[in-house]
Amino acid sequence: MRGATQARWAACAVAAALAATACGGGGDNGGSGADGIVSSSWGDPQNPLEPANTNEVQGGKVLDMLFRGLVRYDPETGEAENEIAEKIESEDSQNFTVTIKDNWTFSNGEKVTAQSFVDAWNYGAALKNNQKNAYFFQYIDGYDKVHPESGKATADTLSGLKVVNGTTFTVRLSQKFSLWPDTLGYSAFVPLPKVFHTDHEAWLSKPVGNGPYTIDQYAKGSSMNLRRWDGYPGADKAQNGGIDLKVYTDNNTAYTDLTAGNLDLVDDVPASQLKNVEADLGDRYINTPAGIIQTLAFPFYEKAWNTPDAVKVRRGLSMAINREQITGQIFRKTRTPASDWTSPVLGEEGGFKKGLCGPACEYDKAEAKKLIEEGGGIPGGRLTISYNADTGSHKEWVDAVCNSINNVMGDNKACVGGPVGTFADFRSQVSTQKLTGAWRAGWQMDYPLIQNFLQPLYYTNAPSNDGKWSNQKFDDLIDKANAESDKAKAVTTFQDAEKVLVEQMPVIPLWYQNGSAGYSDRVEDVSLNPFSVPVYDRIKVK
């Protein structure tokens, strides 16, 4: 493109004769150096931008720039480190004392106090506020009063939260949970300024937080301009002048804009461009593990799937899927074949164990067929894998998985895809137990703990246990692990629980998802954190 400058001006002159076309193209007027502005792609957040109401990446991006909590996950290792918290102490894994640092303020000057946290958490937990992440507060004592399963709330505030003084508060949990402090890095736990409660509408139209950036301009549905907050007290000050987020309807357009030099950062490289990405961007393309695992789930509320024989069938199906080939050809290595039920971002210490699943997650044509036949064949004679057809290009891989299974079975109709029109409808059918066959399932971690990959998904009647699988041995091991005060021991116990999954194969692990991003030659030091959100504050403009 650099060589084309002259041709561009010639073309501009021609175009100008027709009409006043915006000439320019490449290069932004974002300045350079420490005050340079980075432009980045964005999607319209699905929910209002309240911390306890944001459960997807697009809103999460903004909260990550705008807020800091007690604990922050290291963008590289995912390890939980104290940020605003001075210390979080407990003697019995159930009663915690939180002491915060004294020097933190919100960008409007208000001091961050223990009260800022307690008020924010009470707001997030209360049923009347319709916060979709309210379940994050479920371990705090009194949650069932402010957020009952059905009926009206009988309390306004969590009885487990007590402010001791300006910098200290205590938390009482309803059960033992030794790793609880490590969950506090999630954005639902951030403190909120008083104006959030007193003038909610105004806050929503221009949120105020305590993070390294402040919002300069927010045009709902189309763009948000964030600027560095010079008074930010934390150690992770922004390395650039600000971030301009621009909403793209289609990630292909964002990618085109990046290649034309109109955009600095695209954090979602479209699947159709993956084959060009090396040629277009070279080493300005990032492909790093994210805390997401994709699985195939089964309906245990259907008798046919809830038998000892069906265990063999599921094991066989798992061995019939050629993960290596599918991740290589369809996903172009933006997925890694899964060999356990967690994610590589946890690290060995955090509980990730490559190969924990053993031969049951490896492609073995002969053994697969033998197991499925021993188990009496696929219940109903045919496996249907349901997926939502509107986003995420799930059709390609579901068809590929089915092909793989059909090849093994020597039957062209052993497995078929079952498309559902929209994501909402798909989720509605899954969560109300309407499906009678298998379905695609995905899990994006809330916090980098092995507990988060197991308990919410496979514990009896857990909120996201859509297949209604239940196993006493598994449940007991999870309870035991939660009560374990030594972190290393807790992790091994969680892994013991995971071994129950190997035996029972309630869901088939498919692959770990990576986060992908591309950036322009204007910026450097671009990386993605384990939640596949760009680490905006570290980006430098050349």
Partner: protein
């Protein structure tokens, strides 16, 4: 004339009710939208129940429809799932799409009609053949191909334009998207004008005008073109509605945050309030455009009178 307009306005009422009801039912058939709000996990039942009550989803469909229509007449189009008023979304989306539509219509009128007149008057000559082949090509190629191709050539390869339109979407950035949006209709306009001109060129009144010794320019513009425009005006009039609603593809390619974008997002998120609201307004635009077209007939052709 006045009675005719009133009759037409009254006819709009059943059309309006019918279309909104249809859209409302279609969006509802897609299933429960609340389940999609929580990502790949189950919404906690208590919050989901509250959200359903808030959006009125716990009531039977007929009751939802009646409440919705009642609210519309008080100017309340409901709230989208992200907490924004639908009227607020409309206020940002419609001006952009209207600008885009105007650009497209201008292209249709200026280029389409001029080419039509030129080819109509020079039937069988090389100009005519070349334009005919060109229009054939434009009609045959789908809009998204033209759009992506122009975006790649002008935006990336030559750097003449920015590949995407900024969120304010000023007119100069909408020229290329407008051209893409107009391209197919433009070809039709050329062909319609050409046929109509060719047909009327042999009409008696044209021969009379020529015999009177009127200058050729006046014959063509005042007599020939004016009478030939009726089918073209019909087409362009109905096209206004089609362009506004059908800009989804173009708006996606060039990242224009207009009506198409809001509709697309509304459908993906099964947000009936957004979808029904926008479609309702589009239906009104369509009906109004049709009425204006019918009234224009009388202006263009003195032989047509409305009693």
């Amino acid at each position: 004339m006045g009675r005719y307009v009133i009759r037409r306005l009254l006819q709009m009422i059943p059309v309006f009710l019918g279309t909104t009801l249809l859209i409302f039912l279609m969006v509802n058939v897609m299933g429960d939208p609340v389940a999609g709000l929580c990502g790949d996990r189950r919404c906690d039942p208590a919050t989901a129940a509250r959200l359903r009550t808030e959006f009125g989803l716990d009531k039977p469909v007929w009751q939802q429809y009646l409440t919705y229509m009642g609210n519309i007449f008080t100017g309340d189009f409901g709230t989208a799932f992200n907490g924004q008023k639908v009227t607020e979304l409309m206020a940002t989306a419609f001006p952009i799409t209207i600008r885009l539509t105007i650009v497209a219509i201008v292209f249709e009128i200026v280029i389409g009609i001029s080419l039509g007149v030129v080819t109509g008057l020079r039937r069988g000559r090389p100009v005519d053949t070349v334009v005919l082949i060109l229009t054939l090509v434009v009609i045959a190629v789908p809009t998204f191909v033209t759009g992506l191709l122009l975006q790649l050539l002008l935006g990336v390869e030559w750097g003449v334009i920015k590949p995407s339109v900024s969120s304010e979407a000023p007119v100069d950035e909408l020229i290329v998207p407008g051209l893409v949006l107009a391209s197919v209709s433009l070809a039709y306009v050329t062909r319609l004008t050409r046929t109509s001109i060719a047909e009327n060129a042999r009409a008696d009144y044209v021969r009379t005008a020529v015999a009177k010794g009127l200058p050729r320019r006046r014959v063509v513009v005042r007599h020939l073109l004016r009478n030939s425009l009726i089918p073209v005006v019909t087409f362009i009039g109905t096209d206004v509605g089609a362009l506004m609603g059908g800009a989804i593809v173009t708006e996606r390619i060039f990242n224009i945050h207009g009506v198409g974008y809001q509709l697309y997002q509304g459908i993906l998120r099964q947000n009936s309030q957004t979808v029904v609201g926008f479609v309702t307004v589009l239906v009104l635009v369509f009906l109004a455009a049709n009425l204006i077209v019918d009234l224009l007939y009388a202006v263009l052709d003195p032989r047509i009178r409305y009693a």
